[in-house]
C-alpha cells in the first residue's frame, strides 16, 4: 500500500516502516552516501542545482551558518550531515518530507528547535511530515497519525494515540512516563494517564500532599 494514500494534513509516524525507509528519494532526510572530499556547497549544488538566497535561507532554517558551505563533507558530524539533508529537502520544496530516524542524532535542545520548525512547515507552508522511527516516543505529544507496522506491509493507523493503549502500552521500549504511571496504577494509587511531566507533577502533588 502506498504511504501517500494515507497522508492527511498533519504529522504521521510509523514503527519500522521499512518499505519507506529503504526509499532513498530526494525528499527523504537520512544519512546518505557522499563524496567525502566534496564541499557542502558543491554537494548541495549537485543535488539541487540551486545557489541563491533560497539555499542560504534553508541553511539558516536548519540552524547551519553560511560558513559550513566551504567545509568538506568528511569533517561534518552525523547531525550536521542530517541538517544539510533537511536543508536540501527544503530547497527542493517537496510537499512531503520523510525523516528517517531523525531524532537519533539530536539532543533535547536541537529536538525542541526542530519540533518548532516542523510545526511551522506544516501550519505555514502546508507540508506533510512523515517520521519513520523504530522508537516514535519523542513525538509523543506531537504527531497526529501513527502507522504501526504489524507485519510486512501491513500497517495499523492510530489517530492521536494516548500511548496507554494496546501496542504502545505493551511495548518494552515505552516512554518512562508511561512506564511510571502504569506501575503506580498497578499498585492501586490513583493517577490519570499523563504524557506531560508537568501535568504528572501537579497530579502527584494533589495526590500525596
Amino acid at each position: 500500500m502506498e504511504i501517500k494514500e494515507y497522508i492527511k494534513t498533519g504529522f504521521i509516524n510509523a514503527f519500522q516502516m521499512k518499505s519507506v525507509g529503504k526509499m532513498v528519494g530526494e525528499n527523504v532526510v537520512c544519512l546518505k552516501e557522499t563524496l567525502e572530499d566534496e564541499t557542502i556547497k558543491n554537494y548541495i549544488l549537485r543535488r539541487t542545482s540551486c545557489f541563491n538566497k533560497r539555499m542560504l535561507d534553508s541553511l539558516k532554517l536548519v540552524n547551519l551558518s553560511e560558513e559550513i558551505l566551504n567545509k568538506k563533507m568528511s569533517v561534518l558530524s552525523s547531525s550536521e550531515k542530517l541538517k544539510v539533508e533537511l536543508a536540501i529537502v527544503l530547497i527542493l520544496n517537496s510537499a512531503v518530507v520523510y525523516l528517517y530516524q531523525f531524532d537519533v542524532y539530536f539532543m533535547e535542545k536541537d529536538l525542541s528547535y526542530f519540533k518548532k520548525l516542523f510545526k511551522k512547515l506544516v501550519s505555514k507552508y502546508h507540508k506533510t511530515i512523515v517520521f519513520i522511527n523504530s522508537k516514535p516516543f519523542f513525538l509523543m505529544d506531537f504527531a497526529d497519525y501513527y502507522f504501526i507496522e504489524k507485519k510486512k506491509d501491513v500497517f495499523i493507523e492510530v489517530e492521536k494515540p494516548t500511548f496507554y493503549e494496546n501496542i504502545f502500552a505493551d511495548s518494552t521500549d515505552k516512554p518512562k512516563i508511561v512506564e511510571f504511571v502504569q506501575y503506580v496504577k498497578e499498585k492501586d494509587n490513583k493517577i490519570k494517564e499523563y504524557v506531560d511531566l508537568k501535568e504528572l507533577l501537579k497530579a502527584i502533588f494533589r495526590e500525596v500532599k
Binding site: 519500522q16 521499512k18 544519512l31 540552524n63 560558513e67 566551504n70 567545509k71 569533517v75 558530524s77 552525523s78 547531525s79 550536521e80 541538517k83 530516524q101 531524532d103 537519533v104 542524532y105 539530536f106 539532543m107 533535547e108 535542545k109 536541537d110 523504530s134 522508537k135 518494552t172 521500549d173 516512554p175 518512562k176 512516563i177 512506564e179 511510571f180 506501575y183 503506580v184 499498585k187 494509587n189 511531566l197 504528572l200 507533577l201 502527584i204 502533588f205 500525596v208 500532599k209
Partner: protein
C-alpha cells in the same frame, strides 16, 4: 585503578573553528562512561582521533586493547555477514559469541539486506571478536531494542569490557558510572553520573535534558515531597506513597 586510555590536551582547528579545545580525559578499567553534547560539540571528532582517523595536537596513550565503533563506519554492503565476520574460520567459542547476537539465518544475508539494528549487532560482534578491554561506541545503541540492549550490556559486563558510549539518548545515561558533557569542542562538565545530572540548570543551558526519573525526582524534591533523587520506579513510588 588501571588506566585503559588517556587523552591529553587534544586540540584541533579547522576553517578557523576550534573543533577540540584542549580536551583531556582518562578512562579507567571498570568505569563506564557516557559522553553527550549537542550537535557539533566535538563528540564524534574526539572519537575519530582516538580511532586514529585524522591528526590533531595532543597525546593519546592506550594501555590495553581499544576498539572504536563509529556511526559513520562503512561496512561493505555486498558482503555476506558470515564472510564479513570470517565465521567459518572461527573457533566454536567465537562462533557462539556471534550466535548470541545474530541468528543463523542472518549470517547468510548480505549486510545491505539487514536493518539498522542487525547492522549494529554485526559491528558489535566484529569488535567482540577482537576481545577489547575498552569498547567505545558512537551513538549506535539507539538502534537496539530493549532486549538486544540488555543482551549487549550483560555480555559486556560478563567479559569485563569497559564501555564508553557517545549517545543522544539521555535515558540510557543511568547505566553508566561516569558522565562527560561536551560543548563547543570542550568538556563542559564531567563527574559521577548522578552528580552531573543534579546540575540541571547548567545541563539545560547546554541543551541536555534529564532522564525522566531524575527530572521528576528533582522537581518533586523542590516541592518538598521527597528528599532525594530516585532512578527506579519502585523507589520513587515507595517514597511518594509511603
Amino acid at each position: 585503578m588501571k588506566k585503559l586510555l588517556e587523552v591529553s590536551d587534544l586540540y584541533l582547528e579547522s576553517h578557523n573553528k576550534i573543533l577540540l579545545n584542549h580536551v583531556s580525559l582518562t578512562f579507567y578499567k571498570g568505569i563506564s562512561t557516557f559522553i553527550c553534547g549537542t550537535s557539533a560539540s566535538g563528540k564524534t571528532c574526539l572519537l575519530k582521533r582516538i580511532a586514529g582517523l585524522g591528526k590533531c595536537r595532543g597525546h593519546i596513550k592506550k594501555y590495553g586493547r581499544v576498539e572504536v565503533i563509529l556511526d559513520s563506519q562503512e561496512q561493505d554492503g555486498s558482503s555476506i555477514v558470515k564472510d564479513f565476520l570470517n565465521y567459518s574460520h572461527l573457533e566454536k567459542k567465537e562462533q557462539s559469541v556471534i550466535l548470541k547476537f545474530l541468528s543463523k539465518t542472518l549470517l547468510d544475508k548480505k549486510i545491505d539486506q539487514l536493518d539498522e539494528k542487525n547492522k549494529v549487532l554485526v559491528s558489535l560482534c566484529q569488535s567482540f571478536l577482537r576481545k577489547p578491554d575498552l569498547l567505545i561506541i558512537d551513538n549506535l545503541l539507539h538502534f537496539l531494542d530493549q532486549k538486544s540492549l540488555q543482551k549487549f550490556y550483560d555480555y559486556v559486563q560478563k567479559k569485563a569490557i569497559t564501555l564508553v558510549c557517545v549517545s543522544t539518548d539521555i535515558e540510557s545515561v543511568l547505566a553508566f558510572h561516569y558522565m562527560v558533557v561536551m560543548d563547543k569542542g570542550s568538556i563542559a562538565i564531567e563527574g559521577k553520573t548522578l552528580q552531573v545530572l543534579k546540575q540541571e540548570k547548567l545541563l539545560k543551558r547546554l541543551g541536555i535534558g534529564l532522564p525522566f526519573y531524575v527530572d521528576l525526582s528533582l522537581q518533586l524534591k523542590l516541592y518538598g515531597l521527597i528528599d532525594q533523587v530516585y532512578v527506579k520506579k519502585e523507589d520513587l513510588r515507595g517514597a511518594l506513597w509511603k
